[in-house]
């Protein structure tokens, strides 16, 4: 059986305690789904033994985008512009390819104002973990519908959403992200394993995490409320994550499990809860997502994973050393080059 997160040891494999992964005290509403996600990020980073200084956090604007202040204080963070986090993250991660990029966005930040940058980020397969803390509304501007609000979902004021939602997971899969999952801020176990796998994956990880807004979208009639999501949650698999530094081999009955070898040598075990679902097949994934919409299911789990695709930094043939800190000798051609160019212009 997939195990619950192990009891937190006092220090992790690089000798840090969980406190070293904490951030400032949250200023978000008590009970906001975003807070739970911050906690899961702290746990996952701690357990994976990631050095916080190696992480760069990115966000746009929104309640969700504030949350990087509430975890990993020892990591640099860039709280950018509304909808423009993907470009900032792209630039920074190209400047320093050795960083572990972690982006946090909201459904408004991603699916409305930021949809252009989002789709192009997905296309590039830049190594980054991109999290959408999805509550179906603009929390920070006090509860207007976002573009992920489901058809028929209502606001507190009774206004009904009459447009189809954008499924960010389906988009991400179609556009080239190489690890796509949907989870729920209230599902500790699933989210924990998914985040660990995300850290181990090299390429664009896109996680749409339903994260209820207790203040503006947790009422009866909302399809992004705690109650609704709990009731309609349709997990595709039971996830367990085996880090590279742990050697656990468990035998599974053939056909019941998809075992994904991740880039750093760790393994993601997906025990199938649904017959025939293989997260390595794009078309299946997108079709299943469409079906879920038709059936009002909140389909969660690892929807798609491809560990073989070339990442953006590979395609650009970047050196191992960060571009940012290359010495002058590496980036300023010698005098003879200028002479050669000038000669050709004579």
């Amino acid at each position: 059986m997939a195990s619950a997160p192990p009891a937190t040891p006092r220090t992790n494999r690089i000798g840090l305690s969980v406190l070293d992964y904490r951030g400032l005290k949250t200023t978000l509403c008590a009970g906001c789904g975003h807070n739970a996600i911050s906690e899961r990020i702290v746990e996952a980073m701690f357990e994976m033994g990631v050095r916080p200084e190696r992480v760069a956090k990115f966000s746009g604007i929104g309640c969700s985008s504030k949350s990087p202040a509430y975890f990993l204080s020892r990591s640099h963070s860039f709280n950018a512009l509304h909808g423009r986090m993907p470009s900032v993250a792209t630039g920074a991660l190209l400047a320093n390819r050795t960083l572990i990029g972690l982006g946090v966005s909201g459904d408004g930040d991603t699916a409305s104002i930021g949809i252009g940058q989002f789709v192009h980020l997905m296309r590039r397969n830049l190594p980054i973990i991109y999290i959408i803390e999805d509550n179906g509304v603009y929390g920070l501007t006090k509860g207007q519908f976002s573009a992920t609000a489901d058809l028929g979902s209502t606001l507190k004021t009774g206004i009904v959403n009459e447009l189809l939602p954008i499924d960010t997971c389906a988009l991400a899969i179609q556009l080239g992200a190489t690890f796509v999952g949907r989870s729920f801020s209230g599902d500790k176990k699933q989210l924990h394993a998914m985040l660990q796998a995300a850290i181990a994956h090299r390429g664009t990880v896109m996680l749409d995490i339903i994260s209820p807004c207790v203040t503006f979208n947790d009422h009866e009639g909302s399809t992004k409320s705690y109650a609704y999501v709990k009731e309609h949650d349709e997990p595709l698999q039971e996830l367990s994550f085996v880090p590279s530094f742990e050697d656990i081999s468990v035998e599974y009955a053939p056909g019941t499990t998809v075992d994904v070898a991740l880039h750093d040598g760790s393994r993601l075990r997906l025990r199938k809860l649904e017959e025939g679902y293989d997260p390595r097949e794009k078309v299946v994934a997108v079709r299943r997502l469409m079906e879920a919409h038709a059936q009002s299911e909140v389909l969660t789990g690892v929807l798609y994973v491809d560990t073989s695709a070339e990442s953006f930094v590979d395609r650009l043939h970047l050196p191992d050393r960060p571009l940012a800190t290359l010495p002058q000798e590496a980036v300023r051609p010698p005098r003879a080059v200028l002479d050669e160019v000038m000669e050709a212009l004579r």
Binding site: A80, L338, M342
Partner: protein
């Protein structure tokens, strides 16, 4: 006006008149997409190779093929490089515009035209030279498409005959143009010779001649976008992002060529990344992200792109992130005249974004400065931790200019105030926005710095010295005042203005490509109107102290620029004390054509009542 008033000569009397040597404007009128660019470059290079100072300007439509286009070549023994309004010699190849083109030629000038156009009757005060171009190139090729191209090289041959250009130099220029493309080389050489031979029968009836001089030795010919690209290459740029837009595209395209050639190691690893972004918002966003992470990052754009970059420009200023943006200005507002030149982005870029934002602007006037200012822009951006905008323009960026070769940057690359792990060990503490040195420029750390105290939270929201969120009035005010102090410090770090003149009462102040018209206009003013002027060429914003001093020492200062509202004049008025601001006189025009001296001379003289 004495010198410029050209007597209307009886065409029959022309051969007896004095020849006009190395001083003329040749205008070639063709159709866009007809392949005249190579021929025009060969013409320009031939004159250049004969040692005669020359400049070329391409006046082209926003169109891929079919609309009229003009190329003007100015040979000037005095070294004037500005556009000249008057056309001395017209090459009329475009039926659609031929009549209008002929009307532009100054009395006593000449017209080479495609014989079937039958233009000779249009005016009695010009020398007309009909040339049967189709027939001339017909013997070289039967291919209709090639013929159309070769007609262009044929007019170079015709001009060689009429102007007495040395055919050996024409051949050398053709070799340079077509390099290793053997077939094209052979055809074009043949076409030039066909033109030269075909023109043997023409009886020379105009005074214009090119004679060998020695004023271009050692010089290069290059466009400003290539020069800026070279500057970026030698500045050690590591991230380049862009979204194609005229007239900036060729800057990045040329840079990509240079980067691939000179910045890929033997291991196949590139010491750079180029990203064609989804739009200008993403292009600047990537630059800001990369600058934050420590890369030397740049993008290049034009007006519409600059508008889109506004929000990020403010973030860069406020969060204090280095970035270099080349704005190759074209005519706005809106899509405007996308293939015409202007200095119309100066005011909006100086304050690009909302709130109390201010940026460093650099104003290159020459291709040499496109190169050197590109290098400086990166040092300034990292030194002041702020976006730097290099405001070039279409005339500078896309036209070919004669120049001294560029000098290799002697200064080592300056990366600004960045703390390493060792620095942090030594200091024991770090506050991102604390003004330790009193110059407003604070220390930063780069992500990935392996020290528990290295991290900080970069934000566009109000913050204290530790980059912590703050809405406290003192924090806000203190931070904004420090930013103002930082910008004030930039006054003495940006390229200083360049002064010319010897203590006249009147001042002329200009920047960027307006410079070339000013050089000539000052001579005209002195010669024709007896008006002496001093000249200050401003090279950056915020303004250096010398700019204030220039106003202090002149009764009136004419600020000349290529926009409607006098944008730099407005910036100056904001910066100067009221009594000095009252000395600003604005001469601002925008036609889409590069500024010419005559317009400046006349307007200034009129404003002076002379």
């Amino acid at each position: 006006m004495a010198e410029l008033a050209v007597a209307v000569r009886d065409p029959s009397a022309l051969p007896g008149g004095d020849p006009v040597l190395n001083d003329m404007t040749i205008q070639v009128a063709t159709v866009n997409g007809s392949g005249s660019q190579s021929a025009n470059t060969v013409l320009l290079r031939t004159i250049f190779q004969m040692g005669v100072p020359v400049s070329g300007k391409n006046l082209f439509p926003s169109n891929i093929a079919g609309l009229p286009t003009w190329y003007s070549v100015r040979a000037s023994k005095d070294g004037y490089l500005a556009r000249k309004k008057e056309v001395d010699l017209l090459v009329a190849m475009n039926a659609e515009t031929a009549r209008e083109d002929v009307a532009q030629v100054r009395p006593g000038g000449a017209v080479v035209y495609d014989a079937p156009l039958g233009l000779a009757q249009l005016r009695g005060d010009l020398a007309f030279y009909p040339v049967p171009f189709d027939k001339l190139v017909g013997s070289i090729t039967g291919d209709a498409k090639l013929k159309k191209l070769l007609r262009n090289m044929a007019y170079v041959g015709v001009l060689a005959r009429l102007l007495e250009l040395e055919m050996a130099e024409v051949e050398r220029a053709i070799h340079k143009q077509f390099g290793k493309k053997a077939k094209a080389l052979e055809l074009n050489l043949a076409a030039a010779h066909a033109g030269f031979e075909g023109a043997a029968a023409l009886q020379k009836r105009d005074p214009y001649l090119i004679r060998r001089m020695d004023a271009t030795r050692g010089k290069v010919i290059v466009d400003g976008n290539s020069a800026a690209a070279l500057g970026a290459l030698f500045a050690g740029v590591t991230l380049v992002t862009w979204y194609p837009i005229t007239p900036s595209s060729s800057l990045v395209e040329t840079l990509i060529g240079y980067l691939r050639k000179y910045r890929i190691g033997p291991d196949g690893k590139a010491t750079f990344a180029v990203v064609q972004a989804e739009d200008e918002l993403a292009a600047i966003g990537m630059v800001i992200g990369a600058g934050w992470a420590g890369a030397r990052a740049m993008t290049a754009t034009a007006g519409p792109g600059i508008s889109l970059m506004a929000e990020f420009a403010g973030l860069g200023y406020f969060a204090e992130v280095p970035a270099v943006v080349f704005d190759v200005q074209r005519v706005g507002p809106s899509t405007g005249l996308p293939t015409r030149t202007s200095q119309g982005d100066v005011l909006s870029t100086a304050f690009l974004s909302h709130g109390d934002t201010q940026h460093i602007l650099l104003f290159p006037a020459t291709v040499e400065e496109c190169f050197s200012m590109a290098v400086e822009a990166f040092d300034l951006a990292e030194g002041f931790q702020t976006p730097v905008f290099v405001l070039s323009d279409l005339d500078l960026g896309m036209n070919n200019w004669m120049s001294d070769p560029f000098s290799y940057p002697e200064q080592p690359i300056r990366r600004g105030k960045v703390l390493s792990k060792e620095d942090l060990d030594r200091l024991g503490e770090f506050a991102r926005y604390k003004d330790v040195d009193g110059d407003g420029v604070t220390y930063r750390t780069l992500p990935g710095t392996d020290h528990p105290a290295a991290a900080y939270f970069t934000r566009g929201t109000g913050h204290d010295e530790h980059a912590r969120y703050s809405e406290r009035a003192e924090d806000w005010e203190g931070n904004l005042e420090r930013l103002a102090r930082k910008m004030d410090g930039a006054r003495s770090a940006v390229p200083a203005p360049i002064a010319a003149g010897k203590g006249a009462r009147l001042g002329v102040l200009a920047y960027g490509t307006s410079h070339h018209a000013i050089v000539e206009a000052r001579d005209e003013l002195r010669r024709e109107r007896g008006i002496e002027t001093d000249y200050l060429r401003v090279r950056a914003f915020p303004f250096a102290r010398e700019v204030h001093a220039f106003f202090e020492s002149h009764e009136r200062v004419y600020v000349v620029e290529q926009n409607r509202d006098g944008q730099l004049a407005a910036l100056l008025k904001l910066d100067l004390a009221p009594e000095l601001a009252a000395r600003v006189r604005s001469i601002a025009h925008i036609t889409g054509l590069p500024l010419d001296a005559r317009s400046v001379t006349e307007e200034l003289a009129m404003m002076e009542g002379r």
